[in-house]
């Protein structure tokens, strides 16, 4: 039957499963904690980072709570229960750990951070195309995180002139304790969920951003996460605060080497947006998805949540998710301020045996709050791709609006695409609209392209990118390009 051959061809193309190009491993002298997790490990992490008592207390409180919680399994993803004792909870390049201890000295003005970075680590970031040297050319500020620690943060001085704080989370704990204390755990409490509790206990590093009132951050801020060591968990904690009337665009990229055992990633991101402020938060997630059966890929359990605290504030999440063996991620907006706006734009692509369960929560509390959800799910191979989302309109949210569009595309006949929306409306003046469709790449579309001379592979990638366009246009330009390329690579399986 023609149908079968059609699938066969697409499957064949998908099978030419190319090399995960970020899959190299960096050899460097590292200090890695022995596997296992108990209270003394939590204390040791805190001690390693020379943390004040309040931070240790926060960790211990979270750890105690975590021990009482069961691992959640409601997501549409199947995996063996994780043995949390089989992971190491701290790993850092040795030079990096030295920079940790001589933290203060590093902050001196004429010290260039890059000089202190392990050359192997620097090389790793260079080959990932991440600018970690402050050479002034890049119009982007980067915080590079290697396993458990932040390696370098560029452009800090330029940003400091505007009053913008952009540093690693560990530094912020030391240098801006009152800000960290004021905000940590306010959006994602330590007891929020299993993985958030784990993160709160063993948080490795992360990024801290504070944009003062009225400041429009002139360049994009970004963090690049790299998991290097095997059997290491990465538990970064990111806090981003946009004070009144400010604006910032923040980008996040991730990758990891090819491994044959699952690596664990459980991050927490808290975003606080004050009156009239706006935050754009973009993620291109390309964690190692594992081998053909997704063995050894990253288990990505992430809690991202922002609160639009003040009037007229706006928070926009954009994500392109192509990596990880399992993704469990629901970037959310609590729309508390009147007239605040929440947005979620997502492209999630799964191939092989990847499983993605992702979506968002839009909690409308303030008057005339509005939210938009555009989710594009692409399933190929033997993967399962699930959109799960909540739109909740509380009685106080007079005049709230939500529009949700969930589109799924199935590529091949061995994959699944699922849509599980939850809509809760408790105010009659709210208008909530949800639409979902399922489609595939039509044979007639492929033929049309081929009849104009375009190869099947190009046609598939063109149609797929067209399908995702509404989301990609929300990403900053370079990121959009990267996302398109990632999509093409993940799908086509042919290099170049």
């Amino acid at each position: 039957m023609t149908q079968t051959t059609q699938y066969q061809e697409i499957n064949d193309i998908l099978q030419k499963n190319q090399h995960y190009k970020e899959g190299f491993f960096t050899k460097t002298a590292v200090e890695t904690f022995a596997k296992g997790l108990n209270e003394s490990v939590v204390r040791a992490i805190s001690a390693k980072k020379n943390e004040p008592q309040w931070m240790l207390d926060f960790r211990l409180k979270a750890f105690k709570h975590w021990q009482t919680m069961p691992e959640p399994h409601w997501a549409k993803a199947e995996y063996e229960p994780i043995d949390y004792q089989d992971y190491s909870y701290y790993s850092a390049p040795e030079c990096g750990s030295c920079s940790e201890s001589c933290d203060k000295a590093l902050d001196g003005k004429d010290h260039s951070q890059a000089n202190r970075i392990d050359p192997e680590v620097a090389k790793a970031f260079a080959s990932l195309g991440v600018p970690i040297n402050d050479d002034g050319e890049a119009n982007i500020a980067v915080d590079a995180i290697f396993d458990s620690v932040s390696i370098s943060t560029t452009k800090r001085d330029d940003l400091a002139k505007l009053g913008i704080i952009f540093c690693s989370f560990s530094e912020a704990v030391h240098d801006y304790p009152e800000l960290v204390q004021q905000y940590i755990g306010t959006v994602v409490p330590h007891h929020d969920n299993f993985f958030a509790a784990l993160n709160s206990a063993v948080a490795s590093d992360g990024t801290f951003v504070y944009v003062p009132p009225g400041v429009r951050c002139p360049i994009d801020l970004s963090t690049y996460f790299r998991i290097n060591e095997a059997k290491t968990g990465q538990f970064e904690r990111t806090i981003l605060i946009a004070d009144k009337g400010s604006y910032v665009s923040y980008l996040e990229g991730c990758s990891a080497p090819v491994r044959d055992t699952y690596q664990l990633h459980a991050a927490v991101v808290e975003v606080i947006v004050h009156e009239d402020a706006e935050v754009k938060y973009s993620t291109v997630q390309n964690w190692y998805p594992g081998d053909d059966d997704c063995q050894g890929g990253i288990l990505n359990f992430v809690t991202k949540r922002g609160i639009c605290e003040g009037k007229n504030s706006k928070l926009s999440w954009t994500q392109a998710e192509t990596g990880s063996a399992i993704t469990w991620k629901y970037p959310s907006c609590i729309l508390k301020g009147d007239n605040s706006i929440g947005e979620f734009y997502s492209v999630a692509l799964t191939n092989r045996r990847q499983q993605a369960d992702t979506g968002t929560k839009m909690i409308h509390i303030g008057k005339n709050t509005s939210s938009t959800i555009i989710s594009k799910g692409l399933s190929a191979g033997h993967s399962d791709n699930t959109y799960r989302g909540l739109v909740k309109i509380l009685p106080s949210a007079e005049g709230a609006r939500n529009f949700t569009q969930c589109d799924s595309m199935l590529i091949g006949d061995q994959c699944g695409a699922h849509t599980f929306p939850y809509i809760e409306v408790e105010n009659p003046t709210a208008q909530v609209e949800h639409e979902a469709t399922t489609s595939r790449i039509g044979e007639d579309q492929l033929f049309y392209c081929q009849q104009r001379g375009i190869s099947e592979q190009d046609a598939i990638s063109m149609i797929v990118n067209g399908f995702c366009k509404e989301v990609f246009k929300e990403l900053p330009l370079e990121f959009a390009q990267e996302a398109e390329e990632l999509l093409a690579i993940s799908l086509e399986g042919s290099v170049g």
């Binding site: 081929q450 009849q451 001379g453 995702c468």
Partner: protein, 252 residues
């Protein structure tokens, strides 16, 4: 000779549709294939363009001294076979510009020509659009999405102009068009007529032919060409209808 179809037989889902087609097309000629519904007109276009649902069971098709049936769809397109679709497909999110640039460069590469960069491409597109009195806005819109019937056809003509094919197959491109749209298609075809470009116009009605004036007209019935002639044959069909011809054929 550009196209030489010899005893072509084809079937779809085991149902035989083309039952021995013979047709020769020389460079620069315009041929019209006419016939009642179900005669196999669209199958012929599809087989020539390389649609995979159709299985050729017998016969040869020689195109520019090569075996056309051996090539897959994109190869045919790159060698200059262009199909104007009866129902042009919508491709959401893919702009006409990106689509056409990809296609043009694929075809140019096959011809050994350098790829056009964005500026050269836009310049070329602008020229062609101007000639076809098309609005440049069309270039920014997604391929055929939200286009009216007329716009879709006009878009096909534009693509034809951009790809500069040697053989243009118009698959009932006039179906469902109002008189203005029809004129657009006809004017487009006439503007693109050239000594090294041939046309195969597949249609049910002669009204498109009034504007195009083909050199040869063939009547297809039950998978075979039952009569060939000049433009006057189309006029005869207009006056007397297909039944009269079919009857004569069956009696013969």
């Amino acid at each position: 000779m550009l196209l030489n179809i010899n005893n072509l037989k084809a079937q779809v889902e085991e149902k035989s549709i083309l039952k021995g087609i013979n047709l020769q097309v020389n460079p620069g000629e315009v041929h019209a294939i006419m016939g009642p519904n179900g005669s196999g007109k669209s199958t012929l276009s599809s087989v020539l363009a390389g649609r995979e649902e159709y299985e050729v069971t017998e016969g040869q098709v020689e195109y520019d001294n090569e075996d056309l049936l051996e090539m897959d769809a994109e190869e045919r397109a790159r060698k200059g076979v262009f199909l104007a679709f009866q129902y042009p497909v919508e491709i959401p999110g893919v702009s006409n510009k990106l689509f056409m640039q990809t296609a043009v460069n694929a075809v140019r590469e096959a011809r050994g020509q350098p790829a056009l960069d964005m500026f050269d491409f836009e310049q070329l597109a602008a020229e062609k659009m101007k000639k076809l009195e098309m609005s440049p806005v069309m270039l920014e819109r997604s391929v055929n999405v939200g286009f009216s019937g007329g716009e879709k056809k006009r878009n096909d003509i534009f693509q034809m102009a951009m790809l500069e094919p040697k053989l243009c197959i118009m698959d009932e491109t006039d179906s469902g068009l109002d008189i203005d749209a029809l004129r657009i298609v006809a004017e487009g075809v006439n503007a693109l007529r050239a000594p090294d470009r041939s046309f195969l116009i597949v249609t049910h009605y002669q009204r498109l032919l009034d504007y195009i004036k083909p050199d040869h007209v063939h009547v297809l019935y039950n998978g075979q060409i039952i009569k060939s002639g000049g433009f006057e044959l189309a006029q005869e069909l207009e006056e007397k209808g297909y039944d009269h011809l079919i009857q004569a054929y069956q009696e013969a």
